[in-house]
């Protein structure tokens, strides 16, 4: 019996490490779960893209829920998610607000001209300070903010049609259930 002990220990270790590998494949190693979920969105006051004199604040977006999509003309993945944004996400019927993150306004406007503009409104965060308040660490990132200005959901990385079905729709269903 005690001769078999090393074997048991070895098998237990195999189980432990195997669990570790399985666990890591189940979770996106790159994603940080935002501590801002179900908390009020941070206050911001940012100029509109192309109209630097027009400032948009958190207060002016209250009332109806909206998606806040963090993008930049420098962001490669943003090109990949762009068709999904103008297609599947747009068809969900919510306002789509773009947060142009750490970008030159002229580059951003060219980018939107080239690829098409799915946004109802684009605000600019040139130095990335508003991004820090939102816990943004790269683009693209997408927030769902409800009519009361509370962050309800966040997606890190490019949006795919699967993400829309698996995550966006349930998040929206939860919103409309409480009449938000």
């Amino acid at each position: 019996m005690s001769r078999l002990m090393p074997l048991f220990v070895f098998l237990a270790l195999c189980g432990l490490f195997g669990f570790g590998i399985w666990w890591n494949t189940q979770h996106d190693q790159h994603e940080i779960v935002s501590p801002l979920i179900d908390k009020p969105a941070p206050d911001f006051l940012l100029p509109e893209l192309g109209q630097p004199m027009s400032m948009v604040g958190k207060a002016s977006l209250l009332g109806k829920p909206y998606f806040l999509n963090v993008f930049g003309s420098w962001c490669i993945e943003c090109v990949h998610e762009h068709p999904v944004l103008s297609g599947e996400v747009k068809s969900l019927g919510l306002r789509l607000v773009g947060l142009n993150y750490k970008d030159e306004p002229s580059d951003a406007m060219n980018w939107l001209r080239e690829h098409g503009n799915p946004f109802d409104l684009v605000i600019t965060d040139r130095d990335g300070r508003a991004g820090i308040d939102f816990g943004v660490y790269g683009a693209p990132e997408t927030f769902l903010i409800d009519g009361k200005g509370v962050i309800r959901y966040k997606h890190v990385g490019p949006i795919t049609p699967e993400v829309v079905d698996r995550e966006f729709r349930p998040a929206l269903a939860a919103l409309s259930k409480e009449g938000g």
């Binding site: 005690s2 790159h30 501590p35 130095d127 990335g128 300070r129 820090i132 660490y137």
Partner: protein, 140 residues
């Protein structure tokens, strides 16, 4: 040749813009603090080491908060509020992290227990002065 070797160093020096520290003590405090914080983008680099844009922005933020007279704890809390405990290389001790903090101690204690039991059992099997002549068999 020597120039070629120095080239990478040069690019690093250019990439990390110097911050206007008031004195050496402030610079040391900044370096210490940014080495304790993890870059959210690059996963396994400190804010001090990382070249990612977000690390640059967060270093600037830390610097400005230091200039504004905020304490290290306040600066850390500011970052944790936005980026979660992930940014701390030293996670707080709370029920969720007990296993992380005390797990190694438990394993050590279990190992000690196993050794103690083995030693005792052998002592009982082979009382002093009655050692078998041929003890080549290693009994686990």
């Amino acid at each position: 040749m020597i120039f070629m070797l120095l080239l990478p160093l040069l690019s690093i020096a250019q990439a990390i813009q110097p911050l206007p520290f008031r004195d050496h003590a402030e610079e040391l405090r900044f370096q210490h603090l940014s080495a304790e914080l993890r870059c959210p983008m690059c996963q396994n680099e400190t804010l001090a080491d990382s070249n990612a844009p977000i690390a640059h922005d967060l270093r600037r933020q830390i610097f400005e908060m230091m200039q504004a007279g905020r304490s290290d704890a306040e600066i850390k809390a500011y970052l944790v509020d936005r980026y979660s405990d992930f940014v701390l290389y030293k996670p707080p001790v709370e029920p969720k992290t007990w296993l992380l903090w005390f797990g190694p101690l438990i394993v050590l204690a279990l190992g000690g227990l196993v050794v103690a039991i083995q030693v005792r059992r052998r002592a009982r099997q082979n009382p002093v002065g009655n050692m078998p002549a041929n003890d080549t068999e290693d009994d686990w």
